[in-house]
Assembly symmetry: C2
Homo-oligomer: 342 residues x 2
């Protein structure tokens, strides 16, 4: 079942996007998280040459789930982003290329695109520059495509899927409705795929094949691309369009900013100079039955202090509309109270 699925994926990517790949360029893992555990420990940690390597996250905030995967402790180094303010209280993070120092201690670059937690989609120019830096340094650029193109396609901006031999593209079937199947897909050059396959054998014996079986026909026919663009994307787009006006109303009078939602299914809210920390806000919201994730968890590898870390929260808009609407009201009440009572 697995080999048919891998062959169908290779054909799909070759035919639709012109990538020069075959089944030897694809490995399955028990979900994306396992893929990142493999890849990060493959490219970071103490090397046979004695050099201790790190994974560079060019832009924090970045995915909370990376934080603890290093077998040999903390393996990340990340950088503060540049902040671009946009109309209507939106903002967007950008990579601060001047702050990136790629010396021989950097084993790989990794970005999530769209980014969990912010919904940021790195621009085409940013991706090209990161790809070029990685190629020059002869290290991989790992792209966490859990929400990205061509599937699941939870994207509200143009983002062409792209692959080259120094790029490692990680995908998943989770956001197509199969989180419990734990199907991660790694697309990379043959050397990396062989390493992932060896790690699979040792750590997992074999990856689960139920997700592959369930979606084989969707991949063979290419319908998985239409599922992404015609079903998944409009579903979340409608949700974010409903959430935004509610947020603007609920937060009126507060110095709030919303990261431009370009993909994934989170909104990243920034309360500038909020008198309490996001952790405290999280506690107050939890007490009222509203679950968000305090923003300071999303800065793996960022060594320096930065007040911004404590001014943001991640909220999901994936829940039923009524629950999201009620949650936004309560967020508004608690944030206003936090500013007012200071």
């Amino acid at each position: 079942g697995d080999s048919a699925f891998v062959a169908a994926l290779a054909t799909l990517f070759r035919d639709r996007f012109g990538w020069d790949i075959g089944p030897q360029n694809i490995a399955l893992t028990n979900g994306s998280q396992t893929a990142f555990f493999f890849l990060f420990n493959l490219f970071a940690g103490p090397g046979p040459d004695g050099v201790e390597r790190k994974i560079l996250l060019p832009l924090a905030p970045e995915y909370i789930g990376y934080a603890d995967v290093g077998i040999h402790g903390d393996i990340f180094v990340s950088r503060r982003p540049e902040i671009e303010h946009l109309p209507d209280r939106f903002f967007k993070y950008h990579v601060d290329f001047d702050a990136l120092h790629l010396d021989e201690t950097i084993g790989a670059i990794c970005v999530s695109r769209p980014t969990n937690p912010t919904g940021n989609v790195l621009t085409q120019a940013e991706m090209e520059r990161l790809s070029s830096l990685a190629r020059q340094r002869n290290i991989p650029l790992i792209v966490d495509n859990a929400y990205g193109a061509p599937f699941p396609g939870v994207l509200y901006t143009e983002a062409m899927p792209h692959w080259e031999p120094h790029i490692i593209l990680c995908m998943s079937l989770s956001k197509l409705g199969l989180p419990g199947a734990r199907t991660g897909i790694v697309i990379a050059n043959e050397e990396v795929i062989q390493a992932v396959t060896a790690m699979n054998a040792i750590i997992s014996l074999a990856p689960g094949n139920l997700g592959a079986s369930l979606t084989l026909d969707l991949v063979r026919t290419g319908q998985i691309l239409e599922v992404a663009t015609d079903l998944v994307r409009p579903h979340y787009w409608a949700k974010v369009q409903a959430a935004l006006p509610r947020l603007h109303r609920a937060l009126e009078g507060v110095d709030y900013h919303i990261h431009k939602p370009e993909g994934a299914f989170f909104l990243w809210l920034w309360f500038r100079d909020m008198p309490i920390t996001c952790k405290e806000l999280y506690e107050r919201l939890k007490a009222r039955g509203v679950l968000v994730v305090p923003g300071h968890y999303f800065f793996p590898g960022l060594a320096e202090e930065w007040p911004h870390r404590h001014e943001c929260i991640r909220m999901s808009y994936a829940s039923p509309p009524d629950a999201v609407a009620r949650g936004i009201e309560i967020i508004g009440e608690e944030v206003r109270r936090a500013y007012r009572d200071a």
Copy 2:
């Protein structure tokens, strides 16, 4: 889905076997192999106290799949077994308790029961003695129950399922027909379960839940026990009963010995003083389309040389009867030729 399955398992084991367990004593993993990767690296390798710990395999041959799971290199120490000769060219391995030295460098004891590759089922007395040694040393006894009781129940001898707080029992749904679901089950004390759950979160995010969903009703009703005894066990028992007379005929005149098949679905064949190595025999069989596993791979952690390692092969009798019969004929021909041409 997972939590219902775990609760149902706890109820089943409590009601049917009287174990003092609840859901807090059970964790799921993406298959048994992942469970062993977690457990071995939890109890072996460099400790916070600076001591480098190993996993003791009291009896080699032992499962080939353990061999490479150590993050910090080789983490096993194993012992040669005692060999008991039985009628009809059968033999059985036993633990050589005099050879077991349990000092502070032993982090855990591990046995597979039934054993892959030999089909050996450690006796009740051996298990009690190993359990007692582990308890005295305050280390866990890890029991790999991939083929064992109460399910999948690929067992042809009496072996009561047993659990105590210092025992870590690892089970699987693979041999109930769901290898691709990758559902491993760990039963242990709460402290171990919490560690496994934490490793799950970091390395797998969450275990797959399709195996749990598919078998939930079987566990709730307890029918999973009857599936084991009424379907799985007779299926393999018929196969081994068909294979044995064929083997005796095919190997007549050779100094062959067969490990008493007490469980799993392998036969472990020992060709005493065979003039070629099992590796060479494997190559010759492969050239004729018969796949066996050469025995020398099944001695993880055995430091000393021992000619016996190169005199054994593992054959499976799980294939269709005609294929097994034809394979046995060819094994007979090649083994006779090996002795004759020496």
